[in-house]
Amino acid sequence: MTSKLGRTFAATGAAALWPAADAAWANQYNLQPPQTIIAHQIYDLHTLIMWIIFGIFVVVFGFMTVAIVKHRKSAGHEAQQFHENTTVEIAWTIIPFVILIGMAYPATKTILAFKDTSNPDITIKATGYQWKWGYDYLNEGVSFYSNLSTPRDQIDGHNVAARNANPNYLLEVDNAVVVPLGKKIRVITTANDVIHAWWVPAFGVKQDAIPGFVRDTWFRADKVGTYRGQCAELCGKDHGFMPIVVEVVTEEKYAAWIAEQKKKTAAVAVDPAKQWTADELKAQGEKVYASNCVACHQATGMGIPNTFPALSGSKIATGPKEAHMDIVLNGKPGTAMAPFKHLSDVDIAAVITYERNSWANKTGDMVAPADVKAARK
């Protein structure tokens, strides 16, 4: 109890305002309850420093308050004309220095532990996309994308009641990262387009995901549960809409989940020899469009005027197929159009076919997976 109160006190700097703190309320004004050793150390370090700061605050502003109250002209105080004291000057240079060393010592230990990503049990690659996360379990061969799953009508205010009843508003995804309890998980981050940051507060993990470079961090979760975070680096329009959800489960459940994921992957794996019809591609393309393109180009294909171009009636989506494949595969440098070459040949062929035959576009042609394969450099 003492320590809980202490944390409350330290976090607010004005504990009197919040005499009692229940857990839900505590989640609103202090660091989230730590679930890893690093997050614990960070939490305790923060509490310690808040106490030190509180002490300094009381001493320094105690003097200032006394001066304001007593050494005022209206109280009849006459000014003394001293303006130097070498002893005092040396003291208030050295004392803060010593306090700083006291703070730097535990911080240094935490930094060294934080940077030690060696000997992981499981390695997961997290790739930032505008605006979703992609995950690859490097040794297990499991890969998936993780999109925000909060319904659009809650965000744009058409369904406020559902929003208010949704405790995970903006913090829920279709496919969560699943990890086993008590294992050292190394997260490798990178990005496809701009810089993102992979952040789960309960784990004390925040690592920028940088396009073209690989960085890493690690965590080992203490407790089964679902932990939520968000992208922490401004990455464009939907920066606020690409959350991170990590489910920590027992080792048995994790093994079952991996097996299930592998089965799923096998089920959707497409026979490379399969011959696709235009209608099949279009149906598949609509799904691909909904999870990759719709954020900018919109469901209507009209884009957002002056910001994201319309596909409906566009020169590229109604012109030669080669140019259309080129922009989807390689993006358009200097704009928000990122390369999508990480998608499969089938998905790219499907989405292009869909775009060429939807809205006002009626080219009537189709792009086959083999064409995409040929167009890749």
């Binding site: 420093i49 050494h71 002209k73 700083l100 940051a197 073209g212 680096e233 401004l234």
Partner: protein, 531 residues
């Protein structure tokens, strides 16, 4: 006779002895007088402060409750970006240059700035730059939405609004460099006989050091944004890994400029506060030489701490440790300054007119920003707080409650000298208390939402952040409206009010108080002798 020299900002002036000067608008366009140019800078800064403030209120309105109500996310990002750019480059920096123009010649006994024509040019570069910046909202794709830090590669993706912002920053940078060269030259060469460096008022000292910082880092910013420009249009790959570049290099270059930049915005504030506190404590500044050394140490340290803005990019442990230690070290000279101000008040004979209220408010609230700075300096804690509302709270405590409050204090302190009238003390006190209270209502809750995990620069947030965001929005609107009290007070003071004596404040010292109020159009044509 002095009345004939009266310089009335509100109505122009036709009475001074150089009657061949143009009047009306052309007077302001062609002026080479440091007082006129100072006035221009201050009004320019206030205009941009209002523009940037409106942008801030627009984004706070969106954040009043969860969900997207007013703006779509791309426009929201334009608001946060332009609010930052306009406040930093349009409001805070020009305000301090305005003070430098008005006060440095008066405080060192010089007749004007060293390069009077360049002074005119430095100012008149700013309105076109500001126009580029503000009108970029109306080009296709809107203004840049990459954050005021314009990190590559996000800034590479932006529309033509980004190019306008780059040109605007180049022009403002050129203006700052010219202004700084002028200030350095004036201070080093034009001090009155007998005024040695260590007898200079502290405001002059802080500006001398600030000017050197500006000359050192503005070209670095120019380099960074030029590289963004060529990456955008001329096929270079400075920040593109596929072409052999590195996106993180942009951050290193930007923050090598950016960290000294934050001290550029706070050191002159230290100077203003160091003038006000002794005046109203009726006691000389405690530890003058240690103040000078503290400002110099802060300036030097500012060049070796930049990567603390980038603790989460994934640097090695040794870099993290170096930048953490160096950053924590800044607390020492900053602490010395606060202790010296309090020692100046100690056993003084204090009164609490508006300038002193703002100076005391500055010390109190700036220290809170200093404390949170210390929290953020500790790298492991910064992992949790980087890019959250905690950082937003921190830098608004040092930039609004720090720089801006010092600017307000400086205006109230020197406006009797500028206009010849006393300001309305009641309005001034209202302005202070409203600003102080609403500032804290707006920004204190951000510490909590940041700790609890709310990222910055998001247009919509999870429900647990609702309460604090509502409070912040209410505070922000209150703070914005309080500034109308300031505007009223300043305009009333220009138009009339009690006649200000030459030596306006009982405890004030310095050459500026030896000339009449309002300060004649030309002062110190014969240098005064400083004993």
């Amino acid at each position: 006779m002095e009345a004939a020299h009266a310089h009335d900002q509100g109505h122009g002036h036709g009475d001074h002895d150089h009657a061949h000067h143009p009047t009306g608008l052309m007077r302001w366009v062609t002026t080479t007088n440091h007082k006129d140019i100072g006035t221009l800078y201050l009004w320019f800064s206030f205009t941009m402060f209002i523009v940037g403030g409106i942008l801030a209120l627009m984004l706070r309105a969106e954040l009043f409750q969860p969900g997207l109500q007013l703006w779509e996310p791309h426009f929201f990002n334009q608001l946060t970006t332009m609010h930052g750019l306009i406040m930093v480059f349009g409001a805070i920096m020009p305000a301090f240059v305005g003070f430098a123009n008005w006060q440095i010649p008066l405080m060192i006994g010089a007749p004007d700035m060293a390069f009077a024509r360049m002074n005119n040019w430095s100012f008149w570069l700013l309105p076109p730059a500001a126009t580029l910046l503000v009108t970029s909202f109306f080009v296709p794709g809107g203004a840049t939405a990459a954050g005021w830090t314009i990190y590559a590669p996000l800034s590479i993706q932006m529309g033509p609004g980004m190019d306008l912002a780059i040109f605007a920053l180049h022009i403002m940078g050129a203006s700052s460099i010219m202004g700084s060269i002028n200030i350095v030259t004036t201070i080093l060469n034009m001090r009155a006989p007998g005024m040695t460096l260590m007898k200079m008022p502290l405001f002059v000292w802080t500006w001398l050091i600030t000017a050197y910082l500006l000359i050192a880092v503005m070209p670095v910013l120019a380099g960074a944004i030029t590289m963004v420009l060529t990456d955008r249009h001329f096929g270079t790959s400075f920040f593109n890994a596929a072409g052999g570049g590195d996106p993180v290099m942009f951050q290193h270059i930007f923050w090598f400029f950016g960290h000294p930049e934050v001290y550029i915005m706070i050191l002159p504030a230290f100077g203003i506060v160091s003038q006000i506190v002794p005046a109203f404590a009726r006691k000389p500044l405690f530890g003058y030489s240690s103040m000078v050394y503290a400002v110099s140490s802060i300036a030097i340290l500012s060049f070796i701490v930049w990567a603390h803005h980038m603790f989460t990019v994934g640097m090695g442990a040794s870099s993290l440790l170096f930048f953490m230690y160096a950053t924590m070290l800044i607390a020492v000279p900053t602490g010395v300054k606060v202790f010296n101000w309090i020692a100046t008040m100690w056993k003084g004979s204090m009164t609490f007119e508006t300038p002193m209220l703002f100076a005391l408010g500055f010390i109190f609230v700036f220290s809170m920003g200093g404390f949170t700075g210390l929290v953020l300096a500790v790298m492991p804690i910064d992992i949790q707080l980087q890019d959250t509302y905690y950082v937003v709270a921190h830098f608004h405590y040092v930039l609004v409650a720090g720089s801006l409050f010092a600017i307000f204090g400086g205006v109230y302190y020197w406006i009797p000298k500028w206009t010849g009238h006393m300001y309305n003390e009641t309005l001034g006190q209202w302005h202070f208390w409203l600003s102080m209270i609403f500032f804290n209502v707006a920004f204190f809750p951000m510490h909590f939402s940041g700790l609890a995990g709310m990222p910055r620069r998001i247009p919509d947030y999870a429900l647990q952040f609702t309460d604090f965001n509502m409070i912040s929005t209410v505070g922000a609107f209150g703070f914005g409206l309080s500034q109308l009290v300031f505007l009223t007070c300043v305009i009333k003071c220009i138009r009339g009010g009690a006649k200000a004596p030459a030596h306006t404040w009982e405890g004030a010292e310095g050459l500026e108080w030896t000339v009449p109020s309002p300060a004649p159009y030309h002062t110190f044509e014969t240098p005064p002798l400083v004993k």
